[in-house]
Symmetry: C2
Subunit: 249 residues, 2 copies
């Protein structure tokens, strides 16, 4: 990780870059990335989201973006959400959102780099990078090539997730990338009829994991059917999460 | 996919190979792979599980395997579960299960190939391959190099998952790999107190997706806290799923 960082596009002026990582898929990394971006935007910051999950991109769908990114001489223009969040994702370059991108590592790494060097992000206070599961090409390229302020780690209560999340935190320390904190998602569900708290994925372990790995614990998000619904409808900008607001402050 | 398939180790004699894929992480691919292996084993078949999720392996933990795989002149010996299921995973070669494997594509593809060519699987009726999320190096190598009878696709009700699952099914058709069917996991939860059915991730879409993609629909699995608990404890062999039994038949 002593490689020199890649330069951002000369038309970009990005103040802070943070990546959201978990190692384990399906814990809600993309949803949390989107919620963080929405909270920053609602506080008046200029925000962008770089979807580094090249073969499984879900950011455009969560924001309800169906337009294509435009490729010009001077660079690629990202799409814009209703709140004005800039978004770049491989899905914005495909004919259909469910077309597969069957690429090996070098192409994946190349695309991630181009999203940093060729996309005209403009003036941003924060760029959030949504990382795919695993500790392969995309997270490695982001940690080597982008000037990251730090990582936000997303986990869920299952021990399976905890084990893989620890791999991600250890990778960050090998790559000398600071970890800003851990958010535990899908911590519990509440029965809409009788109010019973269902710990479907087991007791919360986020605080214990954060302490063991010596990183700040940022809090827990409950399982909320409304969030899943809004993600599916592309309306995540209408969801408001008190925890995420606290984290931004 | 016109490349010649790699030969299995001369000490292996594997009759059928099936891969379990979803494209989307966290839908329960590894859990379903393990449940299928357990159902085959309980019916008296000789079964193996190849964990092709090189940077996020969870199969050993689900089966409660903490031993290491032994590397000999003639090949690598897999670990064995209590029911006698043979298991090979990168986590069996690491000092600690939460150590990260920070590899780029070529190394990932190489490891997956070696799990087929160098591991002494012995006499197996079925080898199940657990694929990582995405449509990158590992699924590409498995579809190109292993003589797959077919794929089992695992999805969950969210549209985000459905979109990425369709990418996986389209990839299979590009690679001329037959799809044996689709299982929808985490379809609903039941409140233990009042019996209310909670469709946390939205209405079931599995049947509709299977029909649209012209593949068989194999059924739905509910969210079951007991399954998550047994996975965390490494005791999946004690869980019995009526649906998975039906599928095997
Ligand atoms: N707290 C939550 N409550 C309910 N559904 C959630 C929650 N977090 C995420 N989801 C849903 O779970 C699915 C997986 O989330 P996603 O953000 O895609 O995870 P990842 O990026 O880790 O794969 C999505 O369909 C999303 O809407
Ligand atoms: N039907 C289910 N009910 C409850 N928990 C489940 C179910 N299926 C999977 N899980 C849990 O969800 C987590 C993710 O499952 P996993 O099999 O690792 O998914 P994937 O391989 O798709 O990433 C695991 O901790 C597992 O125990
Ligand atoms: Zn209830």
């Amino acid at each position: 990780s002593e490689l020199p960082k890649e330069k951002q596009n000369e038309l970009s002026k990005i103040a802070h870059v943070m990546a959201v990582m978990s190692g384990k898929g399906g814990v809600g990394k993309s949803s949390v990335t989107a919620l963080l971006a929405v909270a920053f935007a609602k506080k008046g910051y200029k925000v962008g989201v770089l979807d580094a999950d090249i073969t499984g991109p879900s950011i455009p769908k969560i924001f309800g973006i169906h337009s294509h990114a435009e490729n010009f001489e001077f660079g690629i223009l990202p799409a814009k959400t209703q709140l004005g969040i800039e978004v770049m994702s491989l899905n914005l370059l495909l004919a259909h959102e469910d077309d597969p991108v069957v690429w090996r590592g070098p192409l994946i790494a190349g695309a991630v780099k181009q999203f940093w060097t060729d996309v005209v992000w403009g003036d941003l206070d924060y760029l959030l990078v949504d990382l795919p599961p695993g500790t392969g090409d995309a997270p490695l390229t982001v940690m080597q090539s982008l000037p990251l302020d730090g990582l936000i780690i997303v986990s869920s209560p299952q021990e399976l997730a905890t084990m893989v999340v620890k791999k991600a935190i250890k990778m960050a320390s090998i790559m000398k990338t600071p970890v800003l904190g851990l958010i535990e998602n899908m911590s519990y569900a509440v029965c809409p009829r009788c109010g019973e708290i269902l710990r479907i994925f087991g007791p919360s372990k986020g605080e214990e994991v954060a302490r063991a790995m010596e990183i700040p614990f940022l809090g827990t998000l409950p399982i909320d059917a409304r969030l899943a619904e809004l993600c599916d409808k592309g309306q995540i900008e209408t969801y408001s999460s008190p925890l995420v607001k606290d984290i931004i402050n």
